[in-house]
Structure formats: C-alpha cells, structure tokens
Subunit: 199 residues, 4 copies
C-alpha cells in the first residue's frame, strides 16, 4: 500500500525536535560547589562538549533526513519500518551522549567513545538502508534522479568513515571525537556542492 | 458537532512522537563500573531490550493509528474521548517499560511482565472501542468500506492474543515477551495483505 | 498587527501534547519491593489517580482550546500574551500533579489538594481572560457568534466552580477531587449541547 | 540550494514548544516538610521565579522567531546552520534556569545570574547573526522591507542591553533580573509600534 510521505515527515520531524531538545536534561547543576559555582560549572566541560556535539549531530541528521524526503515521493511498508529503525537510532542518542559526558577525561573514556561512535555507525548504516531501499523500489521523484545519484555516492562514505572514527578511539579519544565533528560538517554539505568542488 | 479529524491526527502524532522519544530517559548511565564500563553497560541488557520492544510497539501503534484515521473521515465527541483514552494508554507505556527493565531477570520478573502485557491488553481493547465506535456511527470514508471490514477482523484478534500473551507470563516470561514481539509484527502487516495471504 | 491564528494553534497543540505526555515521568518504579512488586505498585495508587486526573484534565483543556480557536479568526499582540500565560498554566500542571501524588493519603494532603485546585482555578481565569479579550476586540468569526455566546456563558461558571472546588478541600479532600473530575466532564460537553439540555 | 522555509519553521516551533514545556521538570516536590508542605513549597520561590522568567523569555523569543520568518521567504545552507545554533541556545535555557533556581538567594547567586544572563546574551547575538545573514543574502520578502529595517534597528539593541544586564549582576542580582524581564517586554513589542511611539 502506498501512503503519502507527508505524515512520515511530520512524525519524524517531531521525533528529531524532541530528541534534540531532551539532550539538555543531561546537563546537571553541580552539587559540590566548595570551590565556587564557577569552578564547579567549568569542571563539567565534558558534559557541555558532548551536549553541543550531539546537538549538532542530530541537527545535521535532521537536515539529511529532510534532504532524502525531498527526493522520496512515495512510501511502502518497508520504508515505514526502516524509518522507524532510523528514528530508533536518533532517539537513542541522548544515552551514548550521557555515557560519553560521564566518562570523558576519565579512565573509561575509550569505552565511552566507542559506544558513542558505535551508535553513529549504526545510524549511518540505517540511513544507507533506507535510502537504497527507496532507490531500489523506485520510490523517488523522477525529476531529481541526478541529485539522488550524488546522495548515494556521499552516503556510501558514511559507514566506512564512522567505522574509521570508531577504530581511531583505540589510538586517541580526542582525535576520534574531532573526526566525528568533521563528519558532521561533511554531511551538512549538500551532495551537489561536493560534486561541484571535485569537478 | 462534527469536527474534521486533521487536528486530532496532528495532536495524536505529537503525543506518539513524544512518548516514543521519552523512552530513552529510562536508559541510565551505570554508576558502578569497577569491572569496567563495558561490563557495566552490558549488564543493563534488560533496559535495552525493554527500550527496543516498547519503541517498536509504539511505532507500530502509530502506524495503526494512522491506518485507522485514513479510514475515519468525521469525528464526534465520543471519538475525541476514546482517542484521548487510547493516547492515555500510549503515553503510559514508558512506565511499564521501566517496571519491566528494572525487574527483568530478577525474582519479580513475572509480575513485571504481567504489568507490561496488561497495559498492552488495555491498549488493544481501546483500539477496538475507538474503531468500533467509528464503524457504528458511520464516521468512515464510504470509499474504503471493504478495507475497513478487514481492519475490524484483524483488530478482533488483538485483545484475545494479548490476553494469551499475559497469561503466558505465568508459564514463562521469555515466551510471553517473544509472543509480544510477534504481535507487534502482526499489527505491522496491513490487513489487506493478511487477507491476501489467507486467500 | 494581525497575524493568522494557524501558527498559534500549532504551537499550542505542541505544548499541550508535550505537557500531557510528560505527566508519565511522575510515575516511578518502586524501589522497596520486600512485600512483592505487585504490593509495591498498588501502594502507589495516589500517583496513578493523579496521573489519570491530570491527563484527562489537560486533554479536556486541549479540546476547549481547540473549540475557542474554531471561533477565533484573527489574533493581536494581547491574544498572543494571554495565550502564552494560559499555556504557562497548562505546562505547569505536572508540578501540582506531582505535589498531589506525593501527599495524597498523607497528613499534608489538604495543602496538596489546595495547590492542585488552585492551579486549575488560575487556568479557568486565564481561559476567561483570553476568550473575553477575543470577544471584546472582535477577533471572532462572524458566522459563529451565537455559539460564541454559549461559550461565554459556560466559561463564566469555570472560575466560580473551581473556587468552590478549592474551598471544598478544607472540608474533604476526596470530595474536592471528585468535584474536580466532574468539572472536567462539564467542560468536555460542547456548550450548544448544554443549551439544548436546558431548553 | 534554496529550500522553502516551511519545514524550518515547523521544526523550530517544535523545539520551542518542547523547550518551554521541559522547564517544569525543574520544579521538584519538596522532601523536607517538617514545617508543613505550604512552608516547604513557599521556600522554593526562586524555582518558581526562574520558571516563570524563562517561560516568558522562551515564549517571547518564539514570537520573535515567528516575526523574523514572516519576513524571510527563502533559505540557504548558512541560514539552516545559524537557525540550528539559535535553537541550541534556546534548548539550553532549562540548564541556566536550573542553575539560577538552585542558587538564587544563596552565596553563589551572582555567578548563577551571570551564567543566566550570559546565555541570553549569546542568544541575542545569534538572533542578530541570523537576521543580518537573511538581510545580506536578500532572503527577505520584498514586500516587507520597511518593517524589516525596523527589526534590524530593534535587534541591534539586543546584545548591548543584555551585556549591560550581565554586567549589572556584579552590582545587584535583583536589578539584573528585573532588567532581564524588562528586556523580554521590549522584544515582545513589535518594531513598528516602537517606531510609532518614537515618532
């Protein structure tokens, strides 16, 4: 059964908006303020860093989701399920963010970074599954096939680089997180601009 | 007074999107990490299992709600109230999820599973009440009466099987939860496909 | 400056949907389960009662808000501010709900019930202020002036009866809460039906 | 690539609605009620004050965001990113609110007020960046250029006065907070009315 994609987009937008806003609940007011509130607040820098990183990540993924559904004109049951799984990944982001912010700078930070990167790797795979299903089942708008091909190319990099990002955590957690941030910028750039730069 | 169903759907979509996203708040960063963060995270498997199960459940119920309102064209006061009661069931899901994730694998897991299945049983009954009211008061779109009849058939199974699911918890909690997952898949399948398979 | 009411309604719907869904966060999994999980869950009955009462209340207020904005066709700056204040009342409901559920059945339940009823009294006053402003500034759709007059009559009862409800808490907390529930039903009924019954 | 602004507005509305509703989670039921629940509730006045201030602030910022996007007709990649950064500021408001409510009236209240004002200063800067980008790239509706010029003037005051507000916290925290409230009223007033008053 074909359903129009409007309600999927509206529901997904709601989920993205809520997930991005819930991140703030991980920022806690410090209890121990013997050295002053300012010092106690500054000591929480991993929480702010993780907050901003995850916020920008979900924001960029929202832009990408929007970009995909600009091309997808029809839906089917499998697309609905793949979209639900993708949103499962997105809504879970506050949890690895909290794991990272609790352990960044501590002895267990490697494990925390691997969990964090791991969730992003899974989301990258799910983005590819959803998109490739839409391409294979010809759910796309015929007028944008050229720009759709560019998306396919850009997205193919996703899982590979997020895997590299995850493996880098064994060498250096800071480098892994910086690479993670660079990836967000990479997926912020629309694919036709990437193509234009290469040309 | 008849009101158009658009705003009911938008409000319901909002509630579904928030309920599905709030589930993540039940995932807590482990405090005791003496055996390493990885071990502490893995030990929390009941929380992840309950999270994914409830997420997929709410997702499938959202698809079903959408399916019903594709057929329902008009609204009345009773429909508004029945829809509010149905959403009461949906918004409460994070609570039994939390009960289940806190006790799964523990000595009280039977009670937790019964509470969990019980909420789903109530939701199944409410889905039937809403749908049967819409059928009885002729609130349906006249063009889809055939597919509406298939929905009525599929939904009639809901309360019965969720009751079986609940009773199974006395015999075996894992089997009850697996049956619960199978039910979600059953309600994911559009009724006309079920009819086609039988034929 | 006149603005169309569409975006006010969409924003308000979002706030209602979130407030109604956040209520579930007040339901906590019991820690002390020496007498069994079932007994521990049952002991939390005030929390469930407060949850269902507040849920139905916000749901009915959402229906009322919808009803008002079916009549209001134009907006002005004061309406924007009055609507924000009304939503301030609605979004605060989880707090008095939590106060009530923590103290219902305990020695401080009178104070808790007065706080609870007090918030509802304030909301009833704000509904009247918003509606009377819309009437006075002629922001209404001219086609529905008759049904608008019925709303004015029904709403005039609100603050008075919620005040009675609050004062009743000094005599009996249970009666006050039952009266509160009856009031929700009263505001669920569309004003033209109330008029029809009287006639 | 130009995209229509509709989905940006819908997403932003969702984020504003969630952020404004999450503020209530900072209101906690008091545990220590030896002197009675009423006394314990009244003792929490800083939490209520911070709640109402932040609520009205986010509400007024939502009205302003709406006002800007009434003028902005087209979007580009930079606008998307600037809007995400602005929403980052808005969604973070529950955290400085919580910092303020935990320390208002205590020995560390100056630091808390500076953090609170500081977030508002950053948001004021981001509002200007977004707006000036839209003006510079000619993303505005040509029919409203005159009223757009008034917005530019009003907004230019924002960062300056929020800086004054922040610096005032060194002299007096109460005055700083009152000034903060006055600023919210200033940005509530539509720019064409400010112009009319001056004329």
């Amino acid at each position: 059964m074909q359903t129009e994609t409007g309600r999927i987009e509206a529901f997904s937008d709601g989920v993205f908006a809520i997930a991005i806003t819930l991140l703030v609940l991980d920022l806690k007011v410090p209890y121990a303020v013997e050295k002053g509130l300012a010092a106690a607040l500054l000591k929480q820098w991993p929480a702010y860093l993780a907050y901003v990183m995850s916020y920008m990540y979900i924001g960029v993924m929202w832009i990408n989701h929007h970009r995909l559904f600009t091309h997808i004109r029809r839906s089917d049951d499998t697309l609905l399920v793949l979209n639900l799984l993708l949103l499962l990944g997105i809504t879970s982001v506050p949890f690895p963010t909290s794991v990272l912010s609790s352990h960044l700078g501590g002895p267990q930070q490697r494990t925390a970074a691997i969990v964090y990167d791991g969730v992003y790797l899974v989301i990258a795979v799910l983005f590819n599954l959803l998109w490739r299903h839409a391409v294979a089942r010809e759910l796309l708008d015929k007028n944008y096939l050229q720009s759709a091909a560019m998306i396919t190319k850009q997205y193919a990099f996703g899982p590979v680089i997020y895997l590299v990002c995850l493996l880098t955590a064994w060498i250096s957690v800071p480098i892994s997180l910086i690479l993670n941030g660079v990836l967000a910028v990479f997926f912020l750039i629309p694919p036709h601009k990437l193509a234009a730069r290469k040309a």
